[in-house]
Symmetry: C2
Subunit: 121 residues, 2 copies
DNA sequence: TCTATAGTTCGGTCATAAACGAACAATTGA
DNA sequence: TCAATTGTTCGTTTATGACCGAACTATAGA
């Protein structure tokens, strides 16, 4: 299979990281890895999009330096580059994940479900 | 003059904040307000773009809930909504500003100057 | 070998946003 | 009142990216 490119730690840039995290789908993916505490295969992500789109999001996270992707069989397992991110931008990942948790809670209270398709006609 | 709309604290959303901060120009503007410790007029921002573009960036920051804009004479003074941001997403602003400082330092070491037009032919 | 599974790549559509200059609005000060 | 200053709005161009389905690749297992 093709070699997957991961940027060096020193080449991880703040605007790119923030941009990658600014998409609700990608934020959800990162939170899922973060909360599970383990690598996640693409197929496990609980997002309502086509698999080709998911694949693109996975690539965006990898190229921003947020995730590491390794192949296992037909699967691609995504993990967070926690050490690299903490070395580069101390506390950023934890802070964003805490913020995400809060944001989701508030959204739930208001019955906002940004990642699910709205079924009510 | 037209009333400037500022979102309520509760309507400040994480993806929107991260998106607003993911643009190098806006990140620079926010850092300038943050570091100066006081309101900044648009004309004071040290960014190499047309004033119409700057005005749009100011609007983007305001609508994301990051800045507050008040009119004083012909000027618009931008301040950070520090309390609202900290209430909503504790530590996020400080963490991002620290990350920005680091990112800028590393860029300077490499003679990267993302906000200046490259003059070397 | 054949099939199913997991993911990538490609071609296309559509929406958003970053950039500019020109024209406009509002305020200050002469 | 007139000119200068400061910023906004508008129309346009251009680039990016989110999304999909179809076709493809690669691996695992029957």
């Amino acid at each position: 299979m093709k070699l997957l490119h991961h940027p060096d730690r020193k080449d991880i840039r703040l605007p790119s990281v923030l941009y990658a995290l600014s998409d609700p789908v990608r934020l959800h993916m990162v939170a899922q890895i973060y909360n599970s505490g383990e690598e996640q295969a693409c197929k496990c992500f609980d997002v309502p999009i086509a698999k080709s789109t998911l694949s693109q999001h996975a690539r965006a996270l990898r190229e921003a330096g947020i995730t590491h992707t390794r192949a296992q069989g037909t699967q691609r397992l995504l993990s967070l580059r926690t050490e690299d991110l903490n070395a580069r931008f101390p506390g950023l990942l934890d802070t964003v994940m805490n913020a995400y948790r809060k944001d989701q809670q508030e959204a739930n209270l208001r019955n906002d479900h940004p990642l699910e398709e709205t079924q009510q006609g």
